[in-house]
């Protein structure tokens, strides 16, 4: 019996992984030829290592004789407004032969299933139409000309920025650490571009010896965070005093840090061992011998289920009637991101997802019924 389950689980996993594989075939963008043409080491916009995504590289020759090289079309698009009047020639890399070709005459495969590093929707250039067609056969997608592809790239910029943002954010903390521990202190706002900043750090050895990855990390941190102040440190685990008791059920809250929540008023902070108790209190403070009114509740903080960090309770998303139980049984389970809440809802058989304002007292007390 046991084995049947095992086999079934493995079978399902295998099928799922096959479909997943078909859906998102990774397309290796890294240069595989011996001497890729690099007019510079790093991308003019993102300062990323160019050879890592050489197959999607672009080189723009300007009328003043200057050249700029970009890691991908999306960075060219980002820079397009600044350079569009001065363009002399645009060269793209043929994804097949990895030779430089005239971008304007190339064939572009857009909207395929191939994943690239910097863009949510890949746009891959080919010199010969036959190569493009072959690629479409493998990955799907449409064949377009340069103008339309550039138009698409500009249109997709917002989405791409969003796409990269999440990845970048995880690097900031490390960037901060590198800066604090390894670098001499200097003002990052003195540079015009990220590339200048990175080049300066590298040539002047401002951070000593660094791996290329770490160099990029610290540059990104300085450019995108440090220039505007220090890294926000509010993403912390909620601190619960040892003697704080939940005013609703009377249990010590520090014993259940996974579920801790609090309401802050002018005079007092109430701690709860779950959002359910917090909501009970919130809707009817007088029932729990509190003189506070609804409008006294300045701030509501809850613990995000996935990250276990303290988040703003009023902006959070709550999943109800899932199969995950807190210390008080069924709980509204808080998430900072709507996407996370939706994933959780699906995976843990939740019934509803509500925002803070959408929750009602009956809904909260309804969690205690055993008939779910």
């Amino acid at each position: 019996m046991n084995n049947i389950f095992k086999i079934a689980a493995m079978y399902i996993a295998a099928i799922l992984s096959l479909t997943l594989y078909a859906n998102a075939k990774t397309f290796k963008e890294k240069a595989t030829i011996k001497d890729p043409v690099l007019t510079q080491k790093w991308c003019s916009v993102s300062a990323e290592e160019l050879k890592d995504t050489y197959k999607t590289n672009y080189i723009v020759k300007l009328t003043d004789g200057q050249t700029k090289q970009y890691a991908a079309l999306r960075f060219l698009a980002e820079d397009y407004d600044a350079i569009k009047t001065r363009i002399q020639e645009i060269l793209a890399v043929d994804a097949k032969s990895q030779k430089l070709i005239n971008a304007l005459r190339a064939y572009y495969v857009t909207n395929s299933k191939a994943k690239t590093a910097y863009s949510k929707f890949s746009k891959i250039a080919f010199e010969k139409e036959a190569d493009a067609k072959e690629f479409v056969q493998q990955y799907g997608g449409d064949i377009r000309d340069f103008d339309f592809t550039l138009y698409l790239a500009i249109k997709d910029l917002e989405l791409d920025r969003e796409f990269l943002k999440a990845k970048k954010e995880k690097r900031y903390q490390k960037g901060e650490k590198i800066y604090e521990r390894l670098c001499e202190k200097f003002d990052p706002s003195q540079y015009d571009t990220l590339l200048d900043l990175k080049t300066d750090i590298d040539t002047k050895k401002r951070c000593g010896r660094l791996s290329s990855d770490n160099l990029q990390t610290v540059s990104l941190y300085l450019w995108e965070v440090k220039r505007f102040g220090d890294l926000e440190q509010n993403k912390n685990v909620m601190k619960v005093p040892q003697d704080a008791k939940c005013p609703v059920c009377g249990m010590f809250v520090f014993k259940y840090p996974k579920w801790a929540a609090k309401i802050v008023t002018q005079e007092h902070t109430y701690y709860f061992d779950g959002v359910k108790d917090l909501m009970k209190f919130y809707f009817n403070p007088s029932k729990f011998e509190s003189a506070h009114k609804l409008e006294d509740f300045k701030e509501i903080r809850v613990t995000d289920y996935y990250t276990q960090k303290e988040i703003d309770g009023k902006k959070a998303f709550y999943v109800l009637h899932s199969n995950v139980f807190g210390p008080m049984g069924n709980e509204p389970i808080p998430f900072e991101k709507e996407e996370d809440a939706k994933t959780f809802l699906k995976e843990h058989y939740g019934k509803t997802m509500l925002k803070f304002d959408e929750m009602t007292e009956t809904e909260v007390y309804g969690l205690e019924k055993l008939d779910n």
């Binding site: 008791k245 059920c249 009377g250 249990m251 014993k255 139980f325 210390p327 008080m328 055993l370």
Partner: protein, 319 residues
């Protein structure tokens, strides 16, 4: 099959006791069939001496079993580490159909061997050993139970699979179990009031010396206590309204209070039942046994109540 240090040691000690019993069985058999107190024969004197050996073995077996019972509980708790899904002994006990039987059997064996020893002491006080026959019939019962226990232990431990997922206590007793299964169709407050009422009955029947009523009430008390402890008092020990389990009480996090609670409860029932049995078989007064029983039962109810009161005093609310 599951394998661990504690298990090896446990089975070894159990086997040792079993071996001693088999060793003593021949003597016991001879006493049962050949006993004739008035005969001045050498055989009779030998049998009298052999009686000492049997009682020595029983004394040893009982003391070992009493020490071994908490060790067994601890063993079950530690085995829960190896079973997927189990958080405490609850899952291990329910891993197959023998677990519950084995636990019950262990308690029954302790009850019988304890009664045997009290009977033995009373017997030795008489000049003509008048209770030797009932003692050895009881021995026969005990002997077969010990062998049965060994068999069930073997079946139990060899039939625990380390791959099959067992139920955790929350699934067996808690929130997500298929509804509370309380006896007599009562709700938990019904059980509680009955529980306290039974204690009053115990107290009164002891004062008034209605011993039969006291013993019956004690058995009733044992059953009610199981439900009251599992579904009500344990939540105050865990300080968690959703955590209902009779086994987690034995864990370190709760200061091993389970040993005190279950120990006093089982001890209380034992003294009452032994008191009744001894009074029936011999002419001795067994008031002191009933007194011990009442003391232990009272300790149990007091500790349980204290948890609730302490929680209320500390937190100002009930769970």
């Amino acid at each position: 099959m599951i394998f661990s240090k504690s298990l090896v040691a446990f089975l070894f000690v159990e086997a040792t006791i079993g071996l001693l019993f088999i060793f003593s069985f021949y003597f016991a058999y001879m006493i049962l069939t050949r006993w004739n107190f008035n005969s001045p024969s050498k055989l009779q004197y030998t049998l009298e001496k052999r009686d000492y050996f049997v009682s020595l073995i029983l004394y040893f077996a009982l003391s070992t079993k009493v020490v071994l019972l908490p060790f067994f509980i601890n063993l079950l708790n530690s085995l829960s580490e190896k079973l997927p899904g189990a958080m405490c002994a609850a899952g291990v006990v329910s891993a197959n159909e023998y677990g519950q039987i084995l636990l019950t059997l262990k308690v029954v064996i302790i009850f019988i061997s304890g009664t045997w020893l009290i009977l033995n002491a009373k017997d030795k006080l008489e000049v003509n050993l008048p209770y030797i026959k009932p003692r050895y019939y009881l021995y026969l019962a005990l002997f077969s139970l010990i062998l049965l226990e060994l068999l069930i232990e073997y079946l139990y431990f060899t039939n625990i699979s380390t791959e099959e997922v067992v139920l955790c206590c929350s699934a067996l007793y808690g929130m997500s179990s298929a509804g509370l299964t309380l006896p007599f169709g009562l709700d938990i407050y019904g059980v509680l009031s009955l529980f306290y009422a039974t204690w009053v009955l115990l107290f009164l029947s002891y004062i008034k010396k209605y011993l039969l009523i006291n013993t019956i009430a004690n058995i009733f008390y044992l059953v009610l206590s199981f439900y009251a402890l599992t579904y009500f008092f344990s939540t105050y020990v865990y300080e968690l309204p959703t955590h209902k389990c009779p086994y987690c009480l034995f864990q370190k996090e709760y200061y091993y209070v389970g040993y005190l609670l279950w120990g006093s409860l089982i001890g209380g029932s034992f003294y009452s039942i032994a008191g009744f049995a001894v009074a029936k078989i011999t002419k001795f007064k067994t008031d002191y046994l009933y007194r011990n029983s009442l003391i232990l039962d009272t300790i149990f109810i007091a500790v349980c109540t204290l948890y609730v009161v302490a929680y209320y005093l500390k937190n100002g609310v009930f769970l």
